[in-house]
Amino acid sequence: MRNAFADEATKLGMADTRVVLLTGDIGNKLFDQFKDKNDGRFLNCGIAEANMIGVAAGMALSGLRPIVYTITPFTTTRCYEQIRVDACYHNVPVIIVGTGSGLSYAELGPTHHSCEDLAIMRVLPNMTVLAPADEVELRQCLRAALKLKGPTYIRIGKKGEKITPKNDDKFEIGRSITVKEGSDVCLISTGTLLPIVMEAAGKLIEQGIKARVESFHTVKPLDEGKLFDVFSCCPVVISIEEHGRIGGLGGSIAEWLARQDRMKGRLFLFGTDDEFMHEVGTQEYARAKYGLTAENIAQKVHDAYDKTTQ
């Protein structure tokens, strides 16, 4: 995803001279193409993220389209007040990209994990929150975000994310993509867990449970129409995210559900626990620790389906 980001940003920069790329001293050589093709519009802002967001806001107030890029905790929690005041309060088109989101950098320890970013970003007024599943969605997210008048947060993975084929290639911010039809359960996925969720859906079908899969690349604004449809049809609805179960996609769906009249669907939230992960491990290890594997998701969904439909 990092390479796709650099490539897409380069293309966007070439097509629109307002595009400026700001980084927090990461991505050695990753942006050589951008620098080469977009002279003077790449700025390494150093390890000074608070300033970087302010600079981006100042640029957006001057008619430019800055894209800010660094590792997720440093471009979210580290400079949260600057995001709130400089980008959101001023309601300017700053695109903030967090790379290595969720447990992508599991090996680096909790300073580099981000299982809170969706929660804290989506509570900010004016902020659009995107979590693309793969590089195809990432490119679509970037192109669409560039057309917005306000700030956008895009959480991405690192590298080698599997691309999920879809029949629906129409991309729109705030409109989820139905990746697979089904009527017994609906798995609502956000971010790079989509291939695992698809695998889980496959296992469920083998077990006789027709699983629908939605890719919610947009966490804010929520696709409320799609939610209404899903909760009207499926008795079991599961949100799945590489993020804490507090305040992320699942949390926002729960808030939406609380505002509805009684719906057919019952909501279950899958995500990481409310803790810092003190053990070392790969992203796969970390996902497994929090039950975010195809086997475990299929098993838990099966249990939830049995319990709900008994």
Binding site: N51, G54, G58, L61
Partner: protein, 273 residues
């Protein structure tokens, strides 16, 4: 505009700010009074701005990063013609847009950035100054900081980046009134040597008497540095400047003047009550 006229405007602004504090029962009087001369020198002399074209892309940008000086800024902008003076009546009123800190540019003409949380104005100003380079424009950016505000790490992050990028169209003025909210700025966090600090951070730094209109006009009107260094002006000021019983008394950071105190202040300033 000549120096005597600028001084007259500054006294008038001080008088209005003091009356406003009493009328609306709002604080930060001392902080406003220390930066009035800087604001007047900038808005009535140095900045290349046209209140009739407040969004002109070529305009100079001015950010009051010490946003709690808003009551002074609002008066200056009104007097300079960005909006009718009658609008000031809504200051601090329910449903109005003039809060105790500057609103966003979308909500008030003349404002370039909403400030209030300290340490934000310089990074934003730096972004605007860099934009001039990218957009091939010729404007300058002036940011006024408080000395207390220099506690914020983001100020120094921006200072380093401005020097690294050789942003010669960026100027800061520190309203160095020697106080912050609850104590002497030198004692709360070790601030000195402030001029040398800016120099050490790669800026072209100088110090002036922040109440000497002649000096202010001169330093504010200087050209961009030839070597691309950003410019730092440390303006020595007095908190509560212009009113004998307010000067250098930090109680006036939060204290509200009584009607009698307003009358006395106006008399000292030689302005109408």
């Amino acid at each position: 505009m000549n120096v005597a006229k600028l001084q007259e405007i500054a006294s008038e602004i001080r008088g209005r700010v003091i009356a406003n504090s009493h009328n609306t029962q709002t604080p930060h009087l001392g902080s406003c009074l220390s930066c009035v001369d800087i604001l007047v020198a900038a808005y009535f002399h140095s900045l290349r701005i046209n209140p009739q074209k407040p969004r002109d892309v070529e305009r100079d940008r001015f950010i009051l990063s010490k946003g709690h000086g808003a009551p002074a800024l609002f008066q200056v902008l009104a007097m300079r013609g960005f909006y009718p003076e009658a609008m000031l009546d809504s200051y601090g009123q329910d449903g109005g847009i003039l809060a105790e800190h500057p609103p966003t540019p979308d909500h008030l003409e003349g404002i370039e950035a909403a400030t209030g949380s300290l340490g934000h104005g310089l990074p934003i100003g730096l972004g605007m100054a860099l934009s001039a380079r990218i957009n091939k424009k010729n404007y300058s950016v002036v940011v006024v900081l408080g000395d207390g505000e220099c506690n914020e790490g983001s100020v120094w992050e921006a200072a380093m980046m401005a020097a690294a990028q050789r942003v010669g169209n960026l100027m800061i003025i520190v309203d160095f009134n020697k106080w912050q909210g609850t104590g002497r700025s030198e004692k709360v966090l070790a601030l000195s040597p402030l001029v040398d600090k800016w120099r050490a951070f790669g800026w072209d730094a100088c110090e002036v008497d922040g109440h000497d209109m002649e000096q202010l006009v001169k330093v504010l009107s200087q050209d961009k540095t030839s070597d691309g260094k950003p410019i730092a002006i440390v303006a020595h000021t007095v908190k509560g400047k212009g009113v004998s019983f307010m000067e250098d008394d930090n109680n006036w950071h939060y204290k509200i003047p009584s009607a009698e105190e307003v009358a006395t202040a106006h008399k000292e300033l030689g302005v109408r009550t």
